[in-house]
């Protein structure tokens, strides 16, 4: 059973063993509105925590998606190319962005659990 962590930049990462699946939170997709394009990284790219890893474009604006932890990109959600609206429909499931092989599991300690993130998102209004 994976454990899901959340960043203050509104990414989630569901960690199972040494890999984590990353996406943007339901709160984030709600704020963005209709997603019309997602730009994903190359498989094999190494990212460090906080790197621009992907771009999500809504009707009105482009937003950077940051790596919540460092690692190597081992998979990307190619289904988003044809169906970017999956990010709106199921942000924390079918709308995932990338799968990372974690560089350092200790970086997860800086992230929030679901309850802490819910309170954080609430405070963002």
């Amino acid at each position: 059973m994976p454990t899901t962590y959340f960043s203050e930049d509104h990414e989630w990462i569901a960690v199972d063993g040494d890999t984590g699946t990353v996406g943007i939170t339901d709160y984030a997709q709600e704020q963005l509105g209709d997603v019309v394009f997602v730009e994903l990284p190359e498989i094999g790219r190494t990212v460090i925590k906080g790197d621009d890893m992907a771009v999500v474009e809504s009707v009105k604006a482009a937003s950077e998606v940051y790596a919540p932890v460092g690692g190597e990109v081992v998979a990307v959600n190619e289904a988003l190319e044809d169906n970017p609206a999956a990010v709106n429909e199921d942000a924390e499931g079918e709308g995932w962005f990338v799968r990372l092989k974690l560089a350092d599991a200790a970086e997860l300690e800086d992230l929030m659990d679901a309850a802490a993130y819910a309170a954080f998102a609430e405070s963002q209004g």
């Binding site: 943007i24 984030a28 730009e39 771009v55 009707v59 009105k60 604006a61 950077e64």
Partner: protein
Amino acid sequence: MATENKTGNKTGPAALRTPLYDLHVAQGGRMVDFAGYALPVQYGGIIAEHEQARSRAALFDVSHMGQARIVGARAAEALESLVPGDIAGLGAGRMRYTQLTDDNGGIRDDLMVTRLAGDASGDALAIVVNAACKDDDFAYLGAALAGWDCSLEIDESAALLAFQGPEAAAVLEAAIPGADGLAFLQGDCFDWRGVPLWISRSGYTGEDGFEISLPAHHAAALAEALLACDGVAPAGLGARDSLRLEAGLCLYGHDIDLTTTPVEAGLAWSIGKRRRAEGGFPGDGTILDQLRNGPTRRRIGLRLEGRAPAREGAEICNADGAPVGRVTSGGFGPTVGGPVAMGYVAAGHAAPGTPLALTVRGRALPARVACLPFIAPGYRR
């Protein structure tokens, strides 16, 4: 995730409220700051609101825009000294798009002008200007018109609703008999339950539709009555922007500003024949020269080949990768079903079909010059 949101930031306490503020909040509008006003960027979603205006009827609050009258025996002549449009040739109840130009031929603002039925005391024109420009416009107009014995009467107590879409006419006719009798760019006075309305057949979406000016304290009641009709839903600033972009209409401060002339902007159609011959407006030397000899750059439409949108500011390059211009508006066109943009390029690259590339995040996205508008307009002429 970090968002750059050009449509507006969350509203601060200083934001002004339109007469429909409470209704927007009650309808679930996401309020943002736009030109100092708290306005809804969207209710449910921009794409759905866009489609609402394209297929049925959408109601927009545009009360933030500046409404005023120019009154005086020489009102048309006076305004013609400030704009290149043919104002003297406007019949009573007829409406026209024009621009306030400056001495360089740049655009101070763009506006709609309507000739009201004159009476014994003389002529009267109604104008609607952009919210972000209205304070400057009114100061400028007030000073300039005084020399013509004309007065500027700013109407701060009027709301303005835009009711747009192919079903708007039938809905409005049922609520306000006679409204559907208006022709495109015609306006008249109407009465709704004792409330005086000024309705024109006009808008900013590329669809058939109406703009309704009325006393602020009756605006919510009319909006609620229209929203209660079958086929009507509210739409926000996000859809207003995507609709006007697909319709190829300029957004002041983005597609046109002091650095662009009406000719460069592809607005020469709005300069009347007599004005071309006579001049007599600010920047007429530059503008008439560009009409004769062609401008060095032109506003164009752009269709991107992929799915990634290009936004305002993106560099436009020719097939060899050399910069030839910049995007001034860009995004996803819901009706087009893909990314669309407008921008300026050197005149030699403006022919429809010309292959160009737009630089987005360091990558060259292939695009072609497209005819404007991107969609077939639904204007009822």
